[in-house]
């Protein structure tokens, strides 16, 4: 019953936000061009790294393309769902409209994180999957159900971690009010996800797996994709994404206790 209500609301959200985004048609076309250019650019950068070296951080060029594909998918998801919604939190808090969200008889976190959708990220997701399919061909990966199942699990876990990171930063707005630039910092760190973790020095590797788990977001799914990973890594990723989702939820509820609406 409850689930049905949320699904119903979500379809309404989809409808309204798609209708409003499609008002800016040329905008969407330009965004599509941006997504294609951005993928070309990052493959170009990779090709510079590999032009005189067969391997970087133990990855061959064809294998590193998998990371690029997974990064593109995740970036598309970020642009479609996380970015338009979670930057809105900042606006809600600055202008005091969060009151209206809290008064509604639905979960505030659900409302805040799913209200909007930006269709221009879809192309990036499609491009990412296209690149992955191409990678299956050039890396001669053998497909079966069990393998696809593992890939899907790690990808879902990555999405959960990514969502929690965004949600964490956005939640801190309740105390700091302006966190636009904190989001920029997160974005620039996430940029690192385009490259295999092993290509960094030891200290940065520790930093990117303990403090900001970017390693888990792209490198582990890519390893699973290649069939190289050990089981404990998959378990670790599932556990970490669970912890992240759980604590981001708790953090939101905790932060709401400190919310004093604007002009009151």
């Amino acid at each position: 019953m409850n689930l049905k209500k949320y699904i119903n609301i979500y379809t309404k959200f989809l409808h309204t936000s798609l209708a409003s985004e499609l008002e800016y048609k040329t905008n969407i076309l330009i965004d599509l061009a941006t997504a294609i250019l951005s993928l070309i650019g990052s493959i170009f950068l990779l090709s510079i790294f590999f032009q005189n070296n067969a391997r970087v951080g133990g990855w061959e060029f064809e294998q590193a393309l998998i990371i690029q594909g997974i990064y593109t998918i995740l970036n598309g998801i970020t642009n479609t769902w996380f970015n338009p919604n979670l930057t809105e939190i900042v606006k809600h808090i600055r202008e005091g409209t969060l009151d209206f969200v809290l008064l509604k008889p639905i979960d505030s976190q659900f409302f805040i994180s799913s209200k909007k959708i930006n269709p221009s990220g879809f192309l990036e997701i499609i491009l990412g999957f296209g690149l992955l399919i191409y990678c299956i061909k050039i890396n001669q990966i053998y497909l079966n159900f069990y393998y696809l199942f593992l890939c899907l699990i790690t990808l879902i876990c990555s999405i959960c971690i990514l969502y929690s990171l965004w949600f964490f930063i956005s939640t801190t707005t309740i105390w700091f009010v302006k966190t636009w630039n904190a989001i920029e910092v997160l974005r620039s760190f996430l940029y690192i996800g385009r490259f295999p973790l092993n290509s960094f020095s030891f200290s940065l590797r520790i930093f990117f797996s303990v403090f900001i788990p970017i390693a888990f977001i792209t490198t582990i799914p890519s390893e699973v994709f290649l069939g190289l990973t050990q089981f404990w890594k998959i378990f670790l990723e599932v556990a970490i994404s669970g912890i992240f989702i759980f604590s981001s939820r708790k953090f939101w509820l905790f932060a709401l206790r400190f919310y004093s609406s604007a002009s009151s």
Binding site: A33, T34, L37, L45, I48, V185, L204
Partner: protein, 264 residues
């Protein structure tokens, strides 16, 4: 007389904007941090000994990326985003009545922000040297002077390009997506992520005709003491400014004629 008046106006504007920016110190500090991508790139280059294939020693490459960081810090432009917001909200109308082109206001905003940013950039450089003590060097005064000028010219080129894009707001509401499209080649071709000298031949043959390598690669090479063609660099920077300035004036003139204030 007239130039004296303009000077006084500019100084007044910069003073106002500087005190405005000082209010947002944390924001600007975070923004400075979000620019540390060149250091991650440096880590990939040196950790995998990729620099050997392009004949740059590790020390020179680390100086290059440090300078790229500095040049980027002092040539970041965001005039499109400010202008878009102001024109969507109708704030442009009062600015247009004043006997001063509103772009002077944005220009002063950028200069004031750079002054506020300077100490944070120095702190980041200090930490960089703490981790890489062997790359400390002191550029001689002449070179320092020239590279400050070339960084400023790079800032001017980007400011002009973005102002031209911003003027498109008069025709389409959302010009920022065009800016995001233009940012992709700037990111990959300007030398922020990889020095232009490492690019493959088929790119190097035409890239020096575009404005991109003069945005970061040229000033950074100049400051870090890497090999670069000083005469060509400066003449191309000035050439691009001479080309872009009349274009900006023309589009501004046409745009203001087209402009209809909100609610009128």
């Amino acid at each position: 007389m007239i130039s004296n008046l303009i000077n006084r106006k500019i100084f007044a504007l910069i003073k106002v904007q500087y005190s405005n920016m000082m209010e947002y110190r944390v924001e600007i500090a975070l923004w400075a941090i979000s620019g540390i991508i060149p250091f991650f790139m440096l880590n990939i280059w040196t950790n995998n000994n990729l620099n050997e294939s392009i004949n740059i020693s590790e020390i020179m490459l680390s100086r290059y990326f440090l300078c790229a960081f500095f040049v980027r810090q002092f040539s970041v432009v965001w005039v499109v985003f400010s202008f878009e917001e102001d024109s969507l909200m109708g704030k442009i109308s009062p600015y247009l009545i004043q006997p001063l082109n509103p772009f002077f206001r944005y220009f002063a905003q950028h200069i004031a922000e750079q002054i506020t940013r300077f100490p944070f950039a120095l702190i980041i450089a200090f930490f960089f040297f703490l981790f890489n003590p062997e790359s400390i060097w002191i550029p001689n005064l002449g070179i320092l002077f020239l590279s400050i000028i070339s960084t400023f010219l790079s800032f001017l080129i980007q400011f002009l390009i973005q102002s031209i894009v911003a003027c498109l707001c008069f025709w389409t509401e959302k010009a920022s997506s065009i800016e995001r499209l233009l940012f992709i080649p700037t990111l990959f071709l300007s030398g922020l992520l990889a020095p232009v000298i490492s690019f493959p031949e088929y790119v190097k043959s035409w890239i020096y005709l575009t404005p991109f390598p003069y945005l970061i690669d040229f000033p950074a090479n100049l400051l870090s003491g890497n090999e670069t063609n000083i005469v060509r660099g400066f003449s191309m920077q000035i050439l691009w400014i001479i080309l872009l300035f009349p274009l900006f004036k023309k589009i501004w003139f046409r745009g203001t004629k087209k402009y209809t204030a909100m609610g009128s």
